[in-house]
Structures are given as C-alpha cells and as structure tokens.
Symmetry: C2
Subunit: 305 residues, 2 copies
C-alpha cells in the first residue's frame, strides 16, 4: 500500500535566519539549501522580500531564490509583507508568495504597522497584481498568531475564521494557520483547524508551529488529524523568539521528518541525509544553539526511511 | 464543569539523577522535592533501591523516601529491580513499588541480567512478599523498551502484550508502558496502549515517555487518547540516554504540565511554581544541561492555571 504523502517545507532560510544578529553569506545559504535538497527536501521558503535596511539578513533574497530555481524540481516560496515585496519576489522567480496576515491586531500593528483587515486588502492587491501578469505564482497566506499572541494574549477563534475567510475571498490560493509565538496546544489546534476548514474548505492545507513551549510536534499530530498535510519546519530548530531570549523557534525539520516517517507517512526525505545537512548547517553557524533532538540522539535502529 | 484530572509523576529524583556522574547530596534532593511539592506536585518517584556500589547516586534512597513521607499528602514511589530492593523500599515506607520489566530480551539481560520472563517471576515474588506483610504498598510494573530498544531494535507488540499480561497475572496492581529509549511515535503509542488495554483492562493506567527524539509530548497526547491519565516526567527534562551522549531523557515536567493544563486538563499543579522549582533545581546543578522549554519561554499571557 502506498504511504500517504506529507509535505515538509523548510523555512529556516527565512524564519530561522531572520533572528540571527549576523548575516549569513549567500554562499552559505546556498550550501545549506543544497545539503538539505540532497536529503530529499523539495520545498524551501528561501527568503523574505523586505527592505534590506530593515533586515540585512535578507538583502540577498533574489540571489538565493534564483539559485534555488536552478533546480526545476524545487518549490521555492518567499515571504512578502506587501505588494512591493510581492512584485520583487515574482520578478526573482518564486513559485509561491507567502503573505503573513496576523489575526491579532496588536501583533499586526507591531509587525507591519497595519490592521489585519488592511493586510487582507493587501492580499487582494497582491492577487490582482499576480493576475495581471502571465505568471502562475501561487499565493499563500499564513494566518499568524492564530493561537494566541505575546502582545494581546488570547486571539478570538471567530476572528481567525473571519481573517482566513477574508484571505480566501481576497484570492489566496492556499492558507495556513501559524502559531507564531508557541502558545498552541493540541486540543486548540484540532478545534481551530476544523473551524477554519468548515469555513474555507480545502484551501486550508498547511500549519506552521513553533516549539517554544515544547508542544510543536504534538500540535503537528493534532493538525494531521484535521487533515492538514503540509508543515513548516526549520533545520536544527534554528530560530528563536524575539520576546524570550533563549527560547526556541520553529519545530526542527529533522524531528518532524523522524516523527512523520515513523508514523507511516511519506515525506520523501531521508532522515540520515537530513541529519547530515543539520551537521553542515552547524559548521556554517559555529557557536549557534540548535534545538532539534534527533541529530544528537541518532536514527533509531528500527527506523525505516 | 470540573476539569478531568491527570496525574503527573515527578521521576527526576530517580530517572533524572541516575545519569549524572556526580552524586547529589540528600539535602539538595530534599530541597528539589520541597520546591516542586510547593507547586502542587503530589507524586514523586523518589529513589531507586539498588546496591549503592552499582549506583552511588541512590545510596540515600531510604533517607529521601523517609523525608518525602513526612508529608502525608504525597504519594511516594521508588524503583526496585528485585525482591531485595522491594523489601528495603517497603521498610523505608514507600507507597508504591515500581518494578521495571523490559519487553526486550536484549535490554533486560543487559540491564538486570535476567530475561523478561524471569522478571515477571520476580514481580510475583515481590507481590507475594507484600501480601505477606500488612502493608498496603501498591505494586506497579513498567514495561520498559515497549516501543523499541537500542540493543535489539524493534520489539514485538505481541511480546509487550504478553509481558504486560504476565505482570498482571503475577499480581501487579497497576502497569504502564515505557519508551525507555525515545523510539515511540504517536501512531504506535495509540495502537499499543489500545492492544494492552484490551488484554489487561483498566490496570494499565500510566505512560513513561522520553523525549530523546522530540516526540515525547506528541506521544502523551496519543496515550491520553487511549485513556491513560498518569504520566511520568522529569523537572527540566533532567536526564539523558546512556547510549547517546548529548541526547535528552524524560519529557520535562513543566512542558508536560503546560500542555495538559492548556488542553483543559487538571494536574493540580501551578505552572509558575513549577518554573520556580526548575530554577531552584538549576541552581542545585550548576552547569547542567536542561531540556524543558517553558522555563526559558515563560508562561503564555493567556494561560489559565
């Protein structure tokens, strides 16, 4: 019987790096991508198209995307906070635009100086701009702080459903829910994905979990039970939380792949190759703290992939 | 509506400490227990009754148990690998004996120089010895390496069911399944707990997960779905794996409590107090690596307990 496929999206080149004080040279980003691609990873969120003054780490976004796109089998996405970034990302050749829309007004204002509804309007503008080209670029919106927010605390589930529905009406091809700050728990994850799915149907197909409080993989299982089959992760769990020094960020790609494969799902990724890629990354970032656990523990003797 | 209760058993004084090269003074063990008790933890696996020559860390087992039992509200258990340890633990006044029975023959021979069936016989001898006293000491057997083994790789699920059933027939009051080496995944956890439950009924009520490969809390959720309501954990995730330097051990008590409470379950434990206890423990063990995540990240703004 063929195993059910699950997509693992490596977001470390964007979400993992953006917290680092030191800019990673383009050649090292490329070395990271190549090492991980060799293990079978096929979808990379490779950069963020934002003003280089705000985020020098992402000044080479176009160069990284162009390198990645030399591999025709790779799906390459990039984060774009606005129309200007979207145009630049399309020009660079991305396959998918990732537009973050925060469900928390406090987080949205702090992050992009716009309300959630203004961001939904921006999604519409981006969709219209894409439609005005002959490009087939996909537009994905990630509903950020969907499970709570370090600024305002709780986030209403009705508001998450409303924003998600607004993004779909604005033209987004795909949407996902993001636990930007690591507040989510499995009961909440199952409930909220089910609610949003009821509102927008199959367009919700992705989850982005942080492991800030250790619940990342438990939340993945809850989202799997809601039918979600695409998960963001960062190699070595690289990243962090701007509000909590020492706290971890994204779930670790290698731990996610270990768990999914052990559960009988097919990620298309070889765990030993991914652990090798993690070691490559750790040589590129000496002294950096990593949070993934499988790399230190090793592949189990009874592991199949 | 009253929230459903879940028991969290602090096993760090036994499973967390036994990996440490340096012996923790009794006074520090007591300080740890008191700090954690103050947050609401009511069940401690406080020591291991083994020959002090083999494990100097546990030479003060009776003293630690006697201190803990000064609190009449505490449930105090101790690990005993054989009848001799069981007699000493009962003498010290434990409420519960924890007898490990490995489902992996390779692990069982390496760990206690006995086959699994010989250990089931030892459970019977321990039960008979208890019955010969007028004590109400409970006898719990933890089926170790139930989800795989670093020595022999896979462990047959039929064998786990057979050993669990054997322990119940031998007189064990309660049993649990332990992922001693961190191989388990949520699909396997759900399947195996359901199988054992079918064989032995309500006597299986506890799970012991290691977070060696990051799946510990995901496995807790799977066991919750099988009706399990008691979980072992170690404060700060203290501990490790003798076969993998740098690898983590038990799931962290504070992360477990965060997740369970966030899911709407009632542990009776205050998360902020538990984080304080973790800080106390880290001052008692300077330089020690801890693996829990909530302590660094902080309690979420929308957390209730």
């Amino acid at each position: 019987m063929p195993r059910e496929k699950v997509t693992v999206v490596e977001v470390g080149l964007r979400d993992g790096l953006q917290m680092l004080p030191k800019t990673m040279p383009t050649a090292n980003k490329v070395a990271w991508l190549e090492a991980e691609r060799a293990s079978g990873v096929q979808h990379f969120e490779a950069a963020s198209f934002v003003p280089p003054k705000l985020l020098p780490q992402m000044a080479d976004a176009a160069a990284v995307v162009r390198h990645a796109k030399r591999h025709s089998d790779l799906m390459v996405s990039a984060l774009v906070p606005n129309l200007k970034g979207a145009l630049a990302a399309m020009e660079a050749g991305v396959d998918m635009l990732v537009v973050p829309v925060s469900a928390s007004e406090g987080h949205s204002r702090a992050n992009v100086r716009r309300t959630p509804d203004e961001m939904v309007m921006e999604v519409r503008r981006i969709c219209e701009a894409r439609d005005g080209t002959n490009r087939s670029t996909k537009i994905y919106t990630g509903v950020a702080t969907a499970f709570g927010c370090t600024i305002q605390g709780g986030v209403s589930e009705d508001e998450v459903v409303r924003i998600a529905s607004g993004c779909v009406e604005a033209g987004a091809d795909e949407i996902g829910l993001a636990d930007t700050v690591g507040y989510a728990n499995p009961v909440q994850v199952r409930r909220l994905f089910d609610k949003v799915k009821k509102a927008v149907g199959a367009r919700i197909n992705s989850a982005h979990f942080h492991d800030t409080r250790g619940t990342g993989l438990a939340n993945v299982v809850a989202a799997l039970n809601s039918g979600i089959r695409s998960f963001d992760a960062s190699l070595g769990g690289l990243g962090g939380c701007p509000y909590a020094p020492g706290a971890s960020g994204n779930i670790a790609t290698e731990d996610l792949v270990f768990m999914l494969e052990a559960m009988g799902l097919d990620t298309g990724i070889r765990l030993d190759g991914l652990i090798e890629a993690q070691r490559t990354l750790s040589t590129l970032l000496p002294g950096q703290t990593f949070y993934g656990k499988v790399a230190a523990a090793g592949v189990p003797k009874n592991h199949m992939s």
